[in-house]
């Protein structure tokens, strides 16, 4: 339901933001990396602030920091705004993963560790606000103590600490500070878990976006200092408080609610968040089958092992006394992105129905079905890109499950069959469902990466465009530009008998006999 509501909104937003920022610098695609960037900013600024913080006089030390116009004030503001930015980016990241169906199966660990990361981020943020010990911190501490007292944890109510009869013991501020510093260690551990199942995790955004983000946060920190309320007075009820919506949005609601209701609501919300991998998992017959590797076709080149974005392929010794290695797919780690299908020159690896051989069979049928359309541009597109909804003036459409799934033999076949040009439409590189599809595709087409496009293919007739599902403008521009360039070339000459090297017979079955779910996956014809 939520996915159906948010999915289209997300796609349209992606399209518009792509249009404005360019898909390469779209911050929505970098939301996960932006969280890490904000954490890094918090770490650096926090290291500075810790030198001036005094647990014996917390509020006074913050006032002193605020009194440093060229140092402390803006560094504290940057620390705080980076913390807000981390929450915003984390929410965007989680919504994207949820709407794109990237929250179940092998990705469940990343989802659940992400939930814990958000929890730790909140603990870190809330202890940070209490550290300041202004009226906001006072309200948080008293409300937190009220809620904790409802749990059977402490023999005596810890709310008495904030009764006002005695000064707050330094031990409280020490423990708060300790938590504020120790929790980031937990964040690092969970971050490691979060990316442990992906190969080559990208932890920081590209430099222009990185420095623009840091520059914007610094700029706003210089202009708008972080809020600092009056010092806490336990014998006064804070009248007007500056709330941080990103961390303390719940405060106005919980103040008037019974602790049991608050804990119940928090428990239900947490349980739902952790259960998302189960709730969003498709039914067994709708799950894409994991890749398989044909031991007969595998040459042991290790390219699929290198290219797999999820470290789901291992190289193991061949059985039967034969020398060399052979690829073995771990179905528990495979998300069925199909990138291995594009990386395997002999077309021996890939999800059932989507291997290079299957693609080649399909493209043959595709060409045979439209013999008169030879001189047109063929749009080869990822089913999640703008190609899926393309309805332009020219161009025939051949969809694949992911541009990185595409075997270069398909491109070769299309060019040699007489297509005027082949425009491959991939998702923006940082928004690929299979993570690294567009990157490997470009490498294979133009940079001689293994399973490369053969030298005999005229590369002037091959072009790659990046356009998200709603970014019809970029695709239209790429199509027009490509058509103009192709118009300068001679008319294409198709081969009568195209022999594409498959190294083994095309009749070789691409579906393993023991595959539990042999099904075609996300592919469709024009």
């Amino acid at each position: 339901m939520l996915k159906r509501l948010l999915g289209p909104v997300l796609k349209r937003t992606d399209g518009w933001v792509d249009r404005l920022f360019g898909s390469k610098w779209n911050p929505l695609y970098q939301s996960g990396a932006l969280v890490v960037l904000c954490l890094a900013v918090m770490l650096v600024t926090g290291l500075y602030l810790i030198f001036f913080y005094r647990i014996g006089a917390p509020y006074e030390s913050i006032v002193r920091i605020e009194g440093q116009p060229w140092g402390g004030r803006w560094i504290r503001a940057l620390h705080r705004y980076a913390a807000d930015g981390a929450v915003v980016a984390a929410v965007v990241h989680a919504l994207r993963m949820f709407c794109q169906g990237r929250s179940w199966g092998p990705r469940a660990l990343a989802w659940i560790s992400g939930v814990f990361l958000v929890f730790l981020l909140y603990v870190c943020g809330l202890t940070g606000y209490v550290m300041v010990w202004d009226t906001h911190g006072q309200l948080l501490a008293t409300e937190g103590a009220r809620l904790l007292d409802a749990l059977p944890l402490f023999s005596e109510p810890i709310s008495r600490t904030f009764a006002g009869a005695d000064p707050i013991p330094s031990a409280f501020f020490f423990m708060n500070l300790f938590l504020h510093i120790a929790v980031p260690v937990g964040i690092v551990i969970f971050l490691w878990l979060h990316v442990s199942r992906v190969a080559r995790p990208v932890l920081l955004p590209p430099r222009p976006l990185l420095w623009t983000t840091v520059g914007l946060l610094t700029g706003v920190a210089l202009v708008v200092p972080a809020a600092l309320g009056p010092g806490a007075d336990l014998l006064r009820l804070p009248a007007e408080v500056t709330l941080d919506v990103f961390y303390t949005f719940w405060l106005p609601w919980t103040r008037s609610a019974a602790p049991g209701v608050v804990w119940l609501a928090a428990g239900v919300a947490s349980a739902v968040a952790v259960a998302v991998p189960l709730l969003t998992r498709p039914q067994a017959d709708r799950r894409p089958a994991p890749s398989f590797a044909s031991t007969r076709l595998c040459t042991g080149c290790e390219q699929c092992y290198t290219d797999c974005p999820y470290d789901a392929i291992r190289m193991v010794d061949r059985e039967g006394g034969r020398e060399g290695k052979v690829a073995l797919v771990n179905p528990a780690a495979c998300v069925s992105c199909g990138i291995c299908a594009g990386s395997c020159a002999p077309m021996g690896v890939g999800p059932p129905g989507r291997t290079g051989r299957d693609q080649l069979s399909r493209v043959k049928e595709f060409v045979q079905r439209q013999p008169d359309a030879g001189e047109d541009i063929v749009l080869v597109g990822c089913g999640r890109s703008a190609a899926a909804a393309w309805a332009g003036d020219h161009g025939r459409r051949f969809l694949v499950s992911c541009a990185g799934n595409l075997h270069t033999s398909v491109v070769e076949y299309l060019v040699r069959s007489g297509a005027r040009g082949v425009l491959i439409v991939a998702c923006p590189s940082r928004d690929c469902w299979g993570r690294e599809g567009p990157k490997w595709l470009v490498e294979r087409l133009f940079h001689e990466r293994e399973a490369e496009l053969k030298a005999r293919v005229d590369r002037r007739r091959v072009r790659v465009a990046h356009a998200s599902s709603f970014d019809r403008w970029s695709l239209g521009e790429a199509m027009d530009e490509f058509a103009t360039e192709l118009a300068r070339l001679d008319a294409p000459v198709g081969d009568d008998a195209i022999e594409v090297e498959t190294e083994c017979d095309l009749a070789e079955s691409s579906t393993p006999q023991d595959s539990p779910l042999p099904r075609p996956g996300h592919t469709s014809g024009p």
């Binding site: 709310s159 009869a165 006064r236």
Partner: protein
């Protein structure tokens, strides 16, 4: 970079700045705490384990189970003394009932109560005494005071250094 792209990037930068400013304004949202329109009566004190000890000579059966050199001359049991807290505001009862103890063993009694009261002049009466008449030696405390509570004020009733109930300093 074409003029159109440059224009789009400029719009993007303006949007990014607006986004960051929106985020900052949401992190500085002024919120008026409705609780501060009233005053609060707060009770907070702790008294050490009030208990009643009763002793008797051990029975033959009890002595048989113990080595001769370890036999006690008497067997004692400690029973927690139940306490009752009574809070009156201008003669109206805010609370009157037993005070729950923390944990299963005999421990200190901790009182921590909060009551929302209307701003203005009030008479506060607090009584904290054992529920059983037999525990005559146990601590019993009482307080009667007139207070003027402004909106947002906390009227704190706590024990002083001598262990007597009273309004805390500053009130």
């Amino acid at each position: 970079m074409s003029a159109a792209t440059r224009a789009r990037r400029s719009v993007a930068l303006v949007l990014a700045i607006a986004g960051v400013l929106a985020m900052v304004s949401l992190s500085r949202l002024r919120w008026r705490n409705p609780d501060a329109e009233a005053a609060e009566l707060r009770l907070s004190w702790r008294i050490p384990a009030p208990s009643e000890r009763s002793c008797r000579p051990p029975t033959e059966a009890e002595l048989e189970g113990v080595l001769p050199h370890m036999r006690p001359s008497e067997v004692c049991t400690d029973e927690a003394i139940p306490y009752r807290l009574t809070v009156l505001l201008d003669g109206d009862t805010l609370r009157s009932g037993p005070v729950a103890r923390a944990g299963g063993r005999i421990r200190a009694i901790t009182v921590y109560e909060r009551f929302v009261i209307a701003p203005g002049d009030h008479r506060i009466t607090v009584g904290f005494a054992p529920e059983t008449a037999s525990a005559a030696e146990a601590v019993a405390m009482a307080m009667d005071a007139d207070v003027a509570a402004a909106p947002g004020d906390v009227i704190l009733v706590a024990t002083d250094d001598t262990g007597r109930l009273g309004l805390s300093e500053g009130r």
